[in-house]
């Protein structure tokens, strides 16, 4: 699946998007896999309550299943307007 990062999440991880091969069943499991990879992921996901997630461009949550999802995005709370 395609994983996207925005704002300071993008900065901490050091890239805006990447293709991730994962068997994770939920968003939380995907985050666990990413965090186990490298320190920069652990730094980005250190406080999950400070993060939001969108699945196929719809806001979702960390318990959500990933079955059929093509695009996952992680970002801080939005500051539009």
């Amino acid at each position: 699946m395609n994983v996207l990062y925005f704002a300071w999440v993008r900065e901490r991880i050091g890239l805006p998007r990447e293709e991730v091969a994962s068997e994770a069943a939920t968003v939380a499991e995907l985050v666990d896999e990413l965090v186990a990879r490298e320190e920069r992921y652990a730094a980005a996901f250190a406080d999950r309550s400070a993060l939001r997630v969108a699945l196929d461009q719809e806001l979702s949550d960390f318990d959500a299943p990933l079955a059929g999802v093509r695009e996952v995005a992680f970002f801080p709370p939005m500051t539009g307007g």
Binding site: A54, E58, T79, G81
Partner: protein
């Protein structure tokens, strides 16, 4: 209903005039414009990042909710991204209705939702460096009144 996400500036007066002229039988047009604050002169510029694709669908979804909830003739949302100087116009919403209450309330609703449900992130660049603008608790709390 029109949604525009763009880097270029917009002409607020021309947008409001065009929006108003296109209405039939609407007695009220409300518009709101968000402007980059100067930060007491320390702000060099603001940068706005967004999530192309999701931004447009989120703005459309929020506007559809407003149209379902209030009796509106039309809704216009323009939101910029990229680098913005102090004093620059960041975004605008306009709503039209037969009577003013619907237009006022819908504009407030749009602004409240747009602040914390449309995927934009602001970063302020000052003389001391750059920092992401943190979401405010009261912006999230503002949604509960709807």
């Amino acid at each position: 209903m029109r949604i525009r996400v763009q880097e270029a500036p917009f002409d607020l007066g021309a947008e409001v005039n065009r929006f108003t002229a296109a209405q039939a039988d609407m007695g009220a047009v409300v518009s709101f414009t968000g402007v980059v604050r100067g930060g007491g002169g320390t702000l060099r510029h603001m940068e706005i990042e967004h999530y192309p694709g999701m931004t447009e669908s989120a703005l459309r979804d929020i506007s559809e909710q407003a149209c379902a909830r209030w009796s509106l003739g039309d809704v216009l949302v323009i939101h910029r991204y990229g680098r913005l100087a102090p004093g620059a116009q960041i975004m605008m919403v306009a709503t039209a209705s037969r009577h003013r209450k619907d237009a006022f309330e819908a504009a407030e609703f749009l602004m409240d939702y747009l602040k914390s449900r449309a995927p934009f992130w602001k970063r302020e660049v000052t003389e001391d460096g750059a920092a992401w603008v943190a979401a405010r608790d009261e912006d999230e709390a503002a949604l509960t009144r709807w």
